[in-house]
């Protein structure tokens, strides 16, 4: 039987606010445990929440970016469950009246086709803390977990899609597009390895052509596109196998381990949680008028699709290149700064050497050791012929290692390309004179074969020049000389 996959996503996006959603504690990543958990975050008795306006502005921006309805009146509910990383034992979230209503996100697939994914709603809520299991804590012979509540109360928007995706490619394209939108808006740092975006994937399968849904499972807390792709493939295969073996898919929550490439059902989910949602009595209805929402609309920065079109238009990039460079706001910003010298060269360098190095060392482009200005400086020297492409690689390495600007490095290493025609002619003459056999071969060869035979001479000339001769000029002069000798 042919199977069709149906996927819906719930995406948690950490907002890049300075302070938490209900307290004035810092949201900075990586602090010592519990040093950024204030009395409110710790749910100390008698403490009360006061919402952060920026979290609402961010959520409204997102809503406007996906063409969604913004709620003029929204409210918070309490979602009750016990877990040590949830200090109040309820999460303050939105259920009945979320800040962002129905919207949609356009995605583009590898074959160039487009799809619209509907957004059911997006709501504001607080993040939980973290349970650390790695420690060797032990009390009375029982293993212990350590609780760090620094993350507790970090503002999140949870974006809930409709089940409009039909496979991993759709889901990953959608996830990337959301990443692109929230980083372009500047409402999220997009740092996946720090958990700034986390994906819960609802997956079901059904016979191709069926219009009812199969039983779905939810794979929670995926924090990379790669893991998401792997987890979907694994889960789809598992569900098909279960059904084809005559079994039934059970509705359950699953965890995917990116290291072992295995997934498992979460424990203690045999009984469905009863979250006992009810309106949070500590918080009043949040009301925004049209003027407020319009004012935010005025501040909306360029969104990824518009930016892609502009990149094609303004820099003459191909659709493919423009897509890659416009998707991530940080990459786009980097590209536009580096494009000063030559946009296409900048594009090639960013998509080639630069992203390879960033990937290899797992560095985000905003932390790239080579600044966009530095790259632009190097490209300028490439364009004006000061250095060759080969030298550029050396310059790039040196810049990566912190040796300064391209000009500094060219100067310090004496990397200047020889473009003096007299000097190049002398080199060409010398190499030809020292290669009588190769010259004879060249002369007697078919005209069609001759271009291939130039390599030897060029190699010798470059070697004699210690790599500094301008290769283009070498080619020209060499060809001219050889033709004279025919």
């Amino acid at each position: 039987m042919q199977w069709e996959t149906v996927i819906g996503l719930e995406v948690h996006v950490q907002l890049a606010t300075k302070s938490k959603i209900f307290s004035g504690a810092s949201t900075a990543f990586g602090a010592e445990p519990n040093t950024q958990a204030c009395a409110i975050d710790l749910a100390m008795p008698g403490t009360l929440p006061v919402p952060n306006e920026q979290a609402f502005r961010d959520a409204i921006m997102f809503g406007l970016a996906i063409d969604a309805d913004i709620a003029h009146t929204s409210m918070f509910e309490r979602k009750n469950y016990f877990y040590p990383d949830l200090p109040k034992a309820y999460q303050t979230t939105q259920l009945e009246k979320p800040i962002v209503g129905r919207g949609h996100v356009e995605i583009e697939l590898a074959d160039g086709s487009k799809k619209s994914i509907r957004i059911h709603h997006a709501h504001l809520e607080e993040d939980a803390g973290k349970s650390l299991h790695e420690g060797s804590f032990e009390i009375h012979g029982h293993g212990m977990s350590g609780i760090d509540l620094n993350r507790a109360g970090t503002p999140l928007i949870e974006i809930v899609s409709e089940p409009d995706m039909r496979g991993a490619e759709d889901a990953v394209a959608f996830a990337r597009k959301l990443h692109s939108i929230v980083t372009s808006l500047g409402i999220c740092d997009g740092n996946m390895s720090q958990g700034s975006m986390r994906f819960d994937v609802n997956i079901s399968v059904r016979p191709l052509g069926s219009d009812s849904f199969g039983t779905r499972t939810e794979t929670k807390n995926l924090n990379s596109f790669k893991f998401m792709e792997e987890a979907i493939a694994l889960e789809v295969a598992r569900q098909i196998e279960v059904i084809e073996d005559g079994g039934k898919v059970i509705q359950e929550t699953r965890l995917y381990n990116g290291d072992t490439k295995k997934a498992r059902a979460m424990r203690s989910k045999e009984e469905a949680n009863d979250y006992r949602y009810f309106p949070c009595p500590d918080l009043l209805p949040i009301v925004f008028d049209d003027d407020y929402i319009q004012a935010i609309r005025q501040t909306l920065p360029e969104l990824p699709d518009a930016r892609r079109d502009r990149f094609m238009d303004q820099y003459g990039l191909s659709h493919y290149d423009a897509n890659i460079l416009s998707g991530d706001a940080h990459v786009a910003r980097y590209f536009e700064t580096a494009a000063g010298g030559d946009a296409k060269l900048a594009a090639n360098w960013i998509m080639g050497e630069l992203s390879a190095r960033l990937n290899a060392e797992d560095i985000a482009i905003q932390n790239c050791p080579v600044s966009a200005e530095q790259l632009a400086g190097m490209i300028a020297r490439l364009v004006d012929g000061t250095i060759s492409s080969k030298m550029a690689k050396e310059v790039f390495d040196a810049m990566w290692n912190g040796e300064g600007s391209a000009d500094d490095i060219i100067e310090a290493r004496g990397l200047k390309q020889v473009s003096d025609s007299g000097a190049i002619e002398a080199l060409v003459n010398e190499v030809i004179a020292n290669s009588p056999q190769q010259l004879d071969n060249y002369r007697s060869a078919d005209e069609a074969k001759r271009p291939k035979m130039l390599g030897y001479f060029v190699g010798q000339i470059m070697k004699a020049s210690k790599g500094q001769a301008n290769p283009q000029q070498v080619n020209e002069v060499l060809l001219k000389k050889l033709n004279e000798l025919l």
Binding site: N34, S131, G146, I147
Partner: protein, 95 residues
């Protein structure tokens, strides 16, 4: 609406409260009495009445996005049952 021991046990699990075996029957009865009291609500005609969550009609004030809190870990953990290396310790969390 009748409420039985099993219902109370389920609620106790939801609310994470261990019940005393000796008093569970009495607890069940007293909760049944309270629920009988609140069941009087069912007779009220509330057709078309908007539920009221807050006594006043005020709307939410919002706070500027400013970090106002400093690290008070020492003071907070001085009153914590069990901590180590700045972490609150609990029996191992199994997901």
């Amino acid at each position: 609406m009748t409420i039985e021991r099993a219902d109370i046990e389920k609620l106790a699990e939801l609310a994470r409260i261990e019940l005393n075996e000796a008093t569970i029957a009495e607890t069940t009865k007293s909760i049944a009495d309270v629920l009988a009291l609140v069941d009087q609500l069912q007779a009220a005609d509330t057709e078309g009445v908007e539920p009221m969550a807050h006594p006043t009609d005020a709307v939410q004030r919002l706070r500027p996005d400013v970090v106002t809190e400093t690290n008070q870990r020492e003071a907070f953990q001085a009153i914590a049952p069990v901590t180590e290396a700045g972490l609150y310790l609990v029996p191992k969390v199994i997901e």
